[in-house]
């Protein structure tokens, strides 16, 4: 029983980080119709940067904040390259973000080397119904839930957020009322970078990251985002939690080598199922 509880809570925490990466996919895709393959690079860079900043003597909190902002800046750069040039079709933007993800490898290896890096998070453990659970798991869950609540408020209540939502629902009429769709796209990329960075800062104490961790992070995040058809951030949270718990249970009771394959299989099934319910005209 206590083992089950442990798996579920660690799964929920891991799922929250998937959801944060996934919400980055959603925020960017909604506004720009680009699936950002470099999404996995944001958490990796933020995680690596936090570790370096902490060893340089920056206190906890400040180091994380700087790393998250760094994620936002890199998101903006990715956005400028991917959609900054007018007339770049979405499929070209997709391959450009893939190129940027590979470019990030080169930069990450030069700056941080190719070995996995981690840093200590919250160190204590909590007793929950007989199960000893690291406090860091609870920190991840709380921060992610607060972030999603803020995200909802941002899209619903603020001027900028409403502008983003307007571009998402109809780019043409958004332009008619004077919203710059390209600028909103760049804002979306920066926000995606911040969300990815936050995920990286939270997950690195739990799992060491190295330059090529981005594939796993991106695949899991994308799988979470697929739950909402890449359009609804809240569904990415649901998707992330489902995936996280499913993977933790598979790893705990069956075989940890198949952890990612669970995410992949769920993602493929969902995508094919969603596609079979859309008509060709709707997609074109």
């Amino acid at each position: 029983m206590s083992a089950l509880l442990q798996y579920v809570i660690s799964g929920l925490a891991l799922g929250c980080t998937f959801a944060l990466v996934g919400s980055g996919f959603v925020v960017i895709h909604r506004v720009t119709r680009v699936v950002n393959f470099a999404q996995g690079a944001f958490p990796v860079i933020a995680g690596l940067a936090t570790a370096s900043l902490l060893t340089r003597g920056l206190p906890h909190g400040a180091a994380e904040l700087v790393a998250i902002l760094l994620g936002g800046v890199i998101g903006l750069v990715v956005g400028v390259v991917a959609i900054g040039k007018p007339g770049t079709p979405p499929l070209a933007s997709l391959v450009i973000t893939l190129g940027l993800a590979i470019f990030a490898y080169a930069v990450e290896i030069i700056v941080w080397g190719d070995q996995p890096v981690s840093f200590p998070g919250l160190s204590g453990t909590v007793n929950v119904a007989g199960a000893r659970i690291q406090q860091q798991y609870f920190l991840v869950i709380v921060v992610a839930l607060v972030t999603f609540a803020l995200l909802e408020l941002f899209f619903g209540r603020t001027y900028l957020g409403k502008g983003l939502a307007a571009c998402a629902s109809n780019p043409y009429s958004a332009r008619l009322v004077g919203i710059s769709v390209t600028r909103m796209g760049l804002v979306a990329f920066a926000l995606g970078g911040v969300l990815g960075g936050l995920a990286g800062v939270l997950v690195t104490p739990l799992q060491a990251v190295s330059f090529d961790s981005d594939v796993t992070l991106a695949i899991n995040g994308f799988a979470a985002a697929i739950f909402g058809g890449l359009m609804r951030p809240m569904m990415a949270l649901v998707g992330g939690l489902v995936l996280g718990v499913a993977e933790a249970l598979v790893a705990g009771y069956y075989e940890s080598a198949f952890q990612t394959e669970v995410a992949l299989a769920i993602m493929l099934t969902l995508m094919v199922w969603q596609a079979s319910r859309r008509s060709a005209l709707e997609e074109a």
């Binding site: 979405p90 499929l91 997709l94 450009i96 893939l98 080169a106 080598a257 299989a265 074109a284």
Partner: protein, 328 residues
């Protein structure tokens, strides 16, 4: 010179050059030549898929792996090696046809992620199974040959690769010129219009997907026989990315684009590799340089020459010929 004759002249020149070049290469250069040839074969299929069927595959490495493992496993179990080489593209195409039925309902970004997922699943399965040698891989794959006569000389492999590449290019050229080829071009621009004009969209997409997989499988078979050792680590996701870079840089949907793209990238990466392994360079230099080159070429070409090097340069030359007053 009018266009078709010009094209044939270039093709003849390229053929003659690629026939003569292996004779002048040493052993390690021949290995590069063979890998280049297999890259041309895979990229030709991917270019067909991306350029004509308008689909991005980030999992071409998985079909390469299927071809390599098919050939390797059959040969290791004592079956004739030629049979293994013939089965490699067939099995790769069969797998593509199988996964293609559900996957090709997806388009664009979704398909790209799905093909990537297929490769990751395949690699992890290959790493788990006993009969594929697990993560350690498959060793001692015999040399390609008929009966007792086996190919040991890398030069012979160079010509086998060359013949395979020529076959693949010929099939591709004839396909593009044929009636199905025109149908494919129609479906690349708008599927709905192509469908209403009587192009069997679903069947054609599946056929091109399978054909591109067959090319990759053939290349994988040659690779397995030449190196004699394969493991899941031989087919990383980066390999699939590399094929995409070659296809995009060379020019999608052209016959010669993949040749140009693969040659350019292979030579560039080799040059940077020797630069990166020079004394005084850090240990990570070769990796970093090749990542940077893939990335920068991909991004720059997509932003500034979206049709790829070959078509962009070709049309620029044509413009110049068209406006020059000496030619009327």
């Amino acid at each position: 010179m009018n266009r078709p004759t010009f094209g044939y002249a270039v093709a003849a020149l390229a053929a003659a050059a690629s026939f003569a070049v292996p004779l002048m290469l040493d052993r390690s250069q021949l290995t590069i030549f063979i890998l280049l040839g297999t890259a041309v074969i895979v990229t030709t299929g991917l270019s067909l898929l991306m350029g004509y069927a308008g689909q991005v595959s980030l999992g071409q490495g998985s079909f390469y792996a299927v071809g390599a493992y098919t050939a390797g496993l059959m040969a290791v179990h004592g079956l004739p090696t030629l049979l293994g080489l013939a089965a490699a593209p067939v099995l790769a195409a069969a797998l593509a046809a199988l996964v293609g039925v559900p996957l090709l309902r997806l388009r664009g970004h979704y398909l790209a992620f799905a093909t990537l997922a297929v490769q990751l699943i395949l690699l992890s399965l290959v790493g788990q199974f006993e009969f594929t040698g697990g993560d350690i891989g498959l060793r001692g794959i015999p040399q390609l040959g008929v009966g007792d006569a086996t190919l040991i000389d890398p030069l012979a492999y160079a010509y086998v690769t060359l013949a395979a590449a020529a076959l693949v290019l010929l099939v591709t050229r004839n396909l593009i010129k044929s009636r199905p080829g025109r149908g494919l071009r129609a479906l690349a621009s708008t599927e709905v219009a192509a469908e209403s004009a009587g192009v069997p969209v679903g069947r054609y997409k599946l056929a091109v997907f399978s054909l591109s997989a067959a090319y990759a499988g053939l290349a994988g078979g040659i690779y397995a026989f030449y190196l004699g050792y394969i493991s899941p680590g031989s087919f990383p996701v980066l390999l699939s990315v590399q094929f995409v870079v070659m296809a995009v840089v060379g020019g999608l949907g052209t016959v010669w684009g993949p040749v140009v793209g693969a040659t350019l990238i292979t030579l560039l990466v080799q040059a940077l590799n020797s630069l990166g392994t020079m004394p005084g360079m850090p240990a990570y230099a070769p990796d970093v340089l090749s990542y940077a080159v893939y990335a920068l070429l991909l991004i720059l070409v997509l932003l500034f020459m979206p049709r790829g090097l070959l078509p962009s340069i070709g049309s620029r030359l044509e413009d110049r010929r068209a406006i020059s007053p000496t030619r009327s």
